[in-house]
């Protein structure tokens, strides 16, 4: 490792070290504390009546029977909430032209997707609340659902005041594409790509416990969520409460992946119900509710083509993306980001002289879509890398060689992509070379040929990619969203020499707390077990954005590093004052203040004792400051791009269409790796989600837009039996924006895996003359269709 911080000779040096997470033992013992584990005095349980139709007018609602049921404390509809909670609109100023309609905590006169909450029942138990919800009498007038994707753009507007169903559109043309495609010697390949609508399926469903304390005029919300400060802003604004009257606490969160970072009507309705009743109200989504009301994503239809010269050099890429977002753009991050990212990212890791793209985002009468892990990347990578394989086949070139020829060279940074993305420094070539070495590409090709001679169809799929991490204010803040791009960490020396850290980044299992503890322990040279980290509480941490878009380590970690350095300076200042030494001659080593020769001079506990209890012994006017807060955000680049490459090796059974995964390899460059143990498994988890997209996961609807995949028996997710071992390698190109040099690692796996798997399937089927499969998931049925067997 060439990172100067990785001085592993010292015992309390933690950067780059695989130390287990401090919170793991607790979770392993069943001592996690998730929202559903909490119980408060007088707590009520919420159940929702949801629209059974994709699109229907609510003619009348009669809640009398439900209200009369024993155990029921309150039943509310939109009319009951209008005076307490103002509606919201999911638009942001920097997405020019993005439009959406006002949305409230419950459907008003009309339901616009199956599963939209219409009424909330609060009762002593969930079972009673559900029984009462079944007694609510609603007269519906069913309306026509919108037709799928592109056709929706021509249909009558879902929200008449918006005039049409085009929520957002964007076009990019850097010039030169048309002429490149027209060149006589250009080899042009084209394809239609389809990514399935899918969703997060966090094992812990969405969960919220809202506790309005009338005596204090304060709303405390225990929330399975990634961005507590954002939630606080939203509640404060729409429930008209001062910010200080809202506390959002995120304890243990059972997986999030971008699902738990949006404003959901049912969660706001739960808060409003608590306010109206003056009692705590808990809502835990059940699995059916999760499938119909968690955000969906990746519903894209992309037509794309690529022009390549006879020498294999890329000349131009053109693509047209139509995506559907459901009836509303989701508040406050909007539903334009995913499509926008597809346009920004496609082709951006190759030396591409010309690029032309169009995006159209359509309203639908299906569950709203929004940002989910790797936002837009899997689509952009599938399109780009799918085209690369088609081009290689047409040129008769090895697909690895074609990629190697066109990747942006490692010495060509900084680089600006055709769509305007700025890359500080990437290692695309080095990562790709490392991938080929790890998988032993040539040996796999030989194995593939040998298998084919036995009538066994194996395929190799490759995919390079870039990944957007550490977003600055350009992502949301400039558009007016109440989302902080900076994060803050407080580091406090305790009198006995241990350290308490509180940070605005949050933990959902990635190991945020472990990473912060490692960074602080490293700076102060103390054992990591002496550092205790607090996150996820708007009353107990500095202000900041939370953890999403892979920003925990890169942004939160740097704020922790800066705070720890400042605390160290204050510690050394006190030691210097007491010992009459120049603080710059002192350092911290293994819990001791040491002098220039490295000899221990004063224990941290002694520093703490003097600083807190015996200030009288310090020189007059010397004020110890042992609680230090630092905030940090990247400023030179709007995002820290990372890069990587993936490969899949698999076998397709041409008789059944079944795919058996034989191996998967990832090389990821996320800058400084703080804890390889955590990063590797996070990358693998991302890969498995990407494999799910490629092979299994899809939200299916019938022609009335009824969701057909409302249980885990219908919506298939990857399970242990069918997943391969996944080899992970690293290249480290630290960002120079921060001292720590860490970038994010959360999206890489999900970004690249679908493309690698799809390419491998097409590679396996090539000798059989099958049609290309560019539709995810590649189910057995679709594979048999491509083979002309069904």
């Amino acid at each position: 490792m060439d990172n100067p911080l990785s001085d592993l000779d010292r015992p309390n040096s933690y950067i780059g070290r695989s130390v287990p997470r401090p919170n793991a033992a607790r979770l392993l013992a069943g001592q996690g504390r998730y929202v559903d584990d909490l119980r408060l005095p007088r707590m009520l349980h919420a159940a929702f009546l949801r629209s059974p139709f994709a699109h229907a007018r609510i003619v009348s609602v009669d809640t009398a029977a439900a209200r009369a049921m024993q155990g029921v404390a309150g039943v509310f509809t939109r009319a009951d909430m209008d005076g307490v909670c103002t509606p919201w609109v999911g638009t942001l100023a920097h997405f020019t032209g993005l439009k959406s309609a006002p949305q409230g905590p419950l459907a008003g006169e009309r339901a616009t997707w199956q599963g939209e909450p219409v009424a909330i029942v609060c009762a002593r138990s969930r079972a009673e609340a559900e029984d009462a919800a079944a007694l609510i009498d609603i007269e519906w007038e069913e309306l026509e659902p919108l037709p799928p994707l592109a056709a929706a753009l021509e249909a009558a507007p879902l929200h008449p005041e918006l005039r049409d169903n085009l929520a957002f559109t964007r076009a990019v043309d850097v010039g030169g594409a048309d002429s490149a495609f027209a060149l006589e010697d250009s080899v042009v390949v084209e394809a239609a790509f389809r990514t399935g609508r899918h969703t997060g399926v966090t094992l812990e469903p969405r969960a919220i416990l809202a506790d309005w304390q009338p005596g204090e005029e304060k709303l405390t919300v225990h929330h399975s969520f990634q961005a507590p400060h954002m939630m606080r802003e939203v509640l404060s604004k729409h429930l008209a409460l001062p910010e200080a009257a809202v506390r959002v606490v995120c304890g243990d969160v059972g997986g999030s992946f971008g699902i738990k970072v949006h404003i959901y009507p049912d969660e706001i309705a739960t808060c409003v119900a608590s306010r109206l009743l003056g009692r705590p109200v808990k809502f835990i989504a059940d699995r059916l509710e999760s499938f119909t009301s968690d955000i969906h994503c990746r519903d894209h239809e992309v037509a794309a083509r690529l022009a390549v010269g006879p020498d294999g050099r890329l000349r131009a890429l053109e693509m047209d993306d139509v995506t559907g977002i459901g009836p509303y753009s989701v508040y406050p991050r909007t539903s334009a980001v995913e499509g926008n990212q597809v346009v920004n990212l496609t082709g951006s890791w190759y030396a591409l002289p010309a690029y032309k793209a169009r995006l159209r985002v359509a309203f639908q009468t299906r569950t709203p879509t929004c940002q989910y892990r790797a936002v837009g990347h899997p689509v952009a990578v599938a399109v780009t890398e799918g085209l690369m394989d088609l081009a290689a086949e047409r040129l008769g070139m090895d697909p690895a060689a074609l990629r190697r020829l066109n990747l942006i060279p490692d010495d060509a940074y900084p680089h600006t992509s055709p769509a305007g993305l700025r890359f500080e420094a990437l290692s695309l070539q080095k990562s790709f070379d490392k991938l080929l070495a790890m998988m032993d590409y040539d040996a796999l090709r030989r194995d593939q040929a040998e298998a084919r001679s036995r009538g066994v169809y194996r395929g190799i799929g490759l995919a390079s990619f870039v990944e957007l991490t550490n977003p600055g204010p350009a992502f949301y803040g400039i558009g007016g969203a109440p989302i902080s791009a900076q994060d803050g960490t407080m580091v406090r020396l305790d009198p006995g020499g241990s350290v308490t850290v509180s940070s605005s980044v949050t933990e959902q299992g990635q190991g945020t707390e472990a990473v912060l503890a490692q960074v602080v322990a490293h700076q102060l040279s103390i054992p990591v077990k002496d550092v205790r980290v607090v996150t996820g509480d708007t009353e107990r941490t500095p202000y900041g954005g939370g953890t999403w878009a892979s920003r925990g380590a890169g942004i939160g970690g740097e704020s922790a590093l800066q705070a720890a350095r400042a605390l160290k300076a204050n510690i050394l200042a006190l030691a210097g004052a007491v010992m009459q030494a120049d603080p710059s001659d002192l350092d911290l080593r293994d819990g001791q203040v040491v002098d220039a020769a490295g000899a221990p001079r004063m224990a941290m506990a002694e520093v703490g004792r003097l600083g807190y209890f015996r200030v009288d012994l310090l020189p007059p006017g010397f004020q110890p400051e042992f609680s230090v807060i630092r905030h940090w955000l990247p400023r030179q680049y709007p995002f820290a791009f990372t890069n990587g490459a993936q490969a899949s090796y698999l076998e397709v059974d041409p008789d059944t269409g079944f795919v058996k995964l034989l191996g998967h390899w990832v090389v990821e460059d996320c800058g400084t790796v703080i804890n390889p143990l955590l990063v590797d498994e996070q990358v693998r988890g991302g890969v498995v989600q990407g494999i799910g997209a490629a092979l299994l996961e899809e939200c299916l609807y019938d022609e009335r837009d009824n969701l057909l995949t409302g249980s885990m028996a219908d919506y298939l997710v990857p399970m242990m039996g069918e997943m391969p071992d996944i080899a992970v390698g690293h290249v480290e190109t630290p960002t120079k924006e921060s001292v720590l040099g860490a970038k994010g690692a959360g999206e890489a796996g999900t970004a690249g895996a679908p493309a690698a798997v799809m390419n491998a399937i097409n590679d396996a089927l090539r000798p059989l003359g099958a049609a290309k499969i560019q539709q995810q998931p590649a189910t057995p049925e679709r594979i048999l269709r491509a083979l002309g067997k069904v």
Partner: protein, 154 residues
């Protein structure tokens, strides 16, 4: 709602409690006995988050009615932790970072303990096979397989 009286042994202690007849074991454990270490992920028998041990076997707490456990011997992650029976598995999971959010983890441990009871040194394939009813959305499963492998050889 009609409540039934239940007598059973949970984590080695005799328990007598009432619950509505329709209550599933997982809700009975979590709500009546405050054993919140076992989780409900799908309530459909698919995800394995609710896996607990009943009369020696790993079962899905969301598929079994509490009333059907009259007289049964039930062990949850809390009890298995207290007796130290799953300590080697827990340590291997911790060392290998075979968990992230931890929501699947108690169910994973109970299922893995059953495998290690029956098979002394399972292969990776046998591990994947046995554990394929336990869903994890966070890890890539690889670390879980590693951890179980390590524990089996401890």
């Amino acid at each position: 709602m009609s409540e039934t009286i239940l007598r059973l042994t949970v984590n080695g202690e005799a328990v007598e409690a009432t619950a509505p007849a329709r209550t599933h074991l997982i809700d009975f454990l979590r709500e009546r006995l405050e054993l919140t270490g076992s989780h409900a992920g799908c309530e459909h028998g698919v995800c394995g988050a609710c896996t607990v041990r009943v009369n020696g076997d790993a079962v899905r707490g969301c598929l079994v009615l509490a009333a059907a456990c009259e007289g049964a011997e039930v062990w949850t992650i809390e009890g298995l932790t207290a007796t130290g029976e799953v300590a080697a598995l827990q340590e291997a999971f911790r060392e290998r970072n075979a968990l992230q959010c931890g929501f699947c983890t108690p169910g994973m441990i109970v299922a893995a303990a059953e495998l290690l009871r029956d098979v002394k040194s399972p292969t990776r394939e046998e591990i994947r096979d046995h554990m394929s009813g336990n869903y994890c959305r966070c890890t890539g499963y690889h670390a879980i397989v590693d951890a179980i492998e390590t524990a089996s050889r401890a």
